[in-house]
Symmetry: C2
Subunit: 107 residues, 2 copies
DNA sequence: CAAACGTGTCGGAAAGACTTGACATGTCGG
DNA sequence: CCGACATGTCAAGTCTTTCCGACACGTTTG
């Protein structure tokens, strides 16, 4: 995870779960680590990836560091997804249409 | 890419680009491979990953194989994203609110 | 049927990600 | 100040991904 790619950041289930936890409000690195059966350094690295991807904000407070969701982070995913969303919604209005469309072969 | 995880499938930029191409309609494996500076086996493997993730459908027609978008594939992503989408939309109504919220430290 | 075509899969090399244990940095309490 | 605490970072091992060249398989064409 060397680049700041949001999609790569989301590829890891632990990181997705961290984002889910953070939906309930900011948490310290330690509190987050406590929720997983992982070494603390591992969690720290996951947090670093999320931070580089712009998915979380880090606010140090004394010797603790609170992480919270970065509202703007997931907009890139949403934006990428949007054209597809329209596409599949159109087709799912009638599932039979989708199945019929599978038949159109151009030899 | 051993699991069928949709998010892992989307982590690769080539695969995201393939999905983008397929938005214009079904394409053969060869036509897809022709769009990239990659060996055909590499593209074939990407297609395999997309298929396992349920993001594309494969319909063989003679000795060609047409790939097309699987409408239902991305719904998992959309579903996961949805709660966050509401969250960040609420906060982005006023960006200054977000910045202010960063200030709330609980020692 | 044989040659040409479209494509998938196998073996292996190079690059990258994930994890862990050990160490470094900065902060709080006495 | 000094020890305890919260956390980040480094080095190394292992597993996974990605890519390529070569080969295999079914389909079409002559």
């Amino acid at each position: 995870m060397v680049d700041n790619d949001v999609f790569s950041a989301l590829a890891n289930p632990v990181r997705r779960e961290v984002l889910g936890l953070l939906r309930g409000g900011p948490m310290t690195a330690g509190a987050i680590a406590g929720r997983f059966e992982l070494s603390r350094p591992a969690v720290s690295e996951h947090l670093r990836v999320l931070r580089l991807a712009g998915l979380v904000h880090e606010n140090p407070s004394g010797r603790k560091r609170y992480y919270e969701l970065a509202p703007e982070g997931l907009t890139a995913v949403s934006a990428w997804l949007h054209p597809f969303e329209r596409y599949w919604r159109d087709r799912l209005t009638s599932l039979s249409d989708v199945l019929d469309a599978d038949e159109k072969e151009q030899p």
